[in-house]
Point group: C2
C-alpha cells in the first residue's frame, strides 16, 4: 500500500534518527546550532535521502530539531507541546482520565508553589500578584479568566528556575483551556468563585512573602477546592 521505503519505526529510519541524536551529543551542540543537511547525513550513513528525510521529519515532530523553511535544521528547544500532544491524545482516546491528569498536576503544582516561594525574582512576584488580581477583575469573562489562570501557573513554574517543571506545566495548558471554563461554569454560587479567586490571591501572597510552606498549603487547598468541579 505504502510507497514509503521504510516506515517510521523501521530499522533504517530508527538508525538515522539515532545517528542525528548522536551527532548532536558528540559535537556538544546547543539550542540553535545548525546541523549538516539531510544529504550529508544520507551519504555518511549510506542510507537513501528518503530515509533521511523521514528521520528529520520525526526529529522535527519531537522538537529535537527545528526545521524552518528552506534553511538548515537547527537543534530544537525543549517544548511542552510534545508532551501536551501525548497527553491530549491519551485523554481523547480514554487511555488516561481527567482525574489522572489532575492528580499529576496537583503533585507537581504543590512542589512548584513551594519552590517558587523560595526562588522567584521580585519581578515574578509582582507578575504573580498581578495575575491573581486580574482573575478577580475579569471574573465575568471566562476567556480572560482562563488566560490569566494559565499564565498564573506558568509564571509560578518558571519561577522555580527548573525548566522541566515549566515545560510539564506548559503541556497541561491545552487541558486547562477546556477544564477551566468547564469548572467555572459549574460554579454557580458566587461564594464558590470567590473562594477559588481568594486561593489564587493567597498563593500569590505566600510566594511574594517567600513563605514556601504556606504557598504549598494554599496550592493544595486550591486543588482540593477545584477537584470536585473537574470530576463532577
Amino acid at each position: 500500500m505504502s510507497t514509503r521505503p521504510v516506515e517510521i519505526g523501521g530499522s533504517l529510519v530508527d538508525l538515522a534518527v539515532q545517528a542525528v541524536r548522536n551527532h548532536i551529543r558528540d559535537h556538544d551542540l546547543k539550542v540553535g546550532d545548525s546541523l549538516p543537511g539531510e544529504g550529508q547525513f544520507a551519504t555518511s550513513l549510506g542510507v537513501s535521502r528518503a530515509v533521511m528525510r523521514e528521520a528529520f521529519g520525526a526529529l522535527a515532530a519531537l522538537r529535537l530539531l527545528d526545521v524552518g523553511n528552506g534553511r538548515r535544521a537547527r537543534v530544537g528547544a525543549i517544548d511542552g507541546s510534545v508532551m501536551g500532544a501525548s497527553l491530549e491524545h491519551a485523554v481523547t482516546t480514554s487511555q488516561i482520565s481527567v482525574a489522572d491528569v489532575w492528580d499529576v498536576r496537583r503533585t507537581l503544582e504543590v512542589r512548584i508553589a513551594a519552590l517558587a516561594a523560595e526562588r522567584r525574582s521580585a519581578e515574578q512576584a509582582e507578575q504573580i500578584l498581578a495575575l491573581a488580581e486580574a482573575m478577580v477583575r475579569d471574573q465575568g469573562d471566562m476567556a480572560r479568566v482562563t488566560a490569566h489562570d494559565t499564565a498564573f501557573h506558568q509564571v509560578l513554574a518558571a519561577a522555580t528556575g527548573n525548566v522541566l517543571f515549566a515545560q510539564i506545566v506548559r503541556s497541561f495548558a491545552p487541558q486547562m483551556e477546556v477544564a477551566v471554563p468547564k469548572a467555572w461554569e459549574t460554579r454557580h454560587a458566587q461564594e464558590e468563585k470567590a473562594g477559588i479567586l481568594s486561593l489564587h490571591r493567597r498563593i500569590a501572597r505566600a510566594i511574594a512573602d517567600g513563605d514556601s510552606g504556606n504557598a504549598a498549603a494554599a496550592m493544595e487547598a486550591h486543588f482540593d477546592a477545584s477537584i470536585g468541579d473537574h470530576l463532577r
Copy 2:
C-alpha cells in the same frame, strides 16, 4: 535546498496533522483502531500525498499513530518514550540539568509511593518486595541492580493505577540507565550501598503494609540519600 513541498511545522502539514487528530476525536477512536489511509485523507483534505505522508510521519513520531509495515495506521498507545526523547535531548544539550530532572522525579516518586501503598494489588506488592530483595542479592552486578531499580520504580508507578504517572516514570528510564550505575560507582563505602538497599526494602515493606505515610517518607529518605551522588 529542500525538495520537500512543505516543511514540518508548515501550515499545510500542521493542518493535515490536526485533521487526523480531529478524525480520531470525532470518531471516538481508541487504541488499536485503524484509520483511513494517507491517500483518503489527502483527497478529502485536498492536499498532496506528500503532505499527508509527512503528517503521518509526524504523528507516528509522537506515537499518536502506530504505523506498521504496509498495514493501515492505527491509533497509538501513550508511550513514555516520547517524553523520554525530549528529556534526554534537553539534558544532552544542557537545557535542563540532572538536578532539575532529579527534583521533578522526586516530586512524582513521593506521591507515587503514597498512592502505590493505597492501591497496589497483592501481586504488585509481591513484585515490589521481590525487586527490593533482588537488588540486595545482585548488588555486585551493576547492570542487574540498575535493571531491578528501574523495574522497582516502574512497578510502583503502575501500582498507582494512574497511567500518566507510569508513563512519566518510564520517560525517566533512559536517564536512570546512566545515573544509577554512576551513583553506584561513587558509593565506595559498603555501608552507603547498604543504606540505599535498605531504603528500597523499607519502601517495599510500607507499600505491602498499605502504609502510605511511611511509603512516602521512605521514598523521600531514598531521594535525600541519593541526591548527593547525582550532583557530585
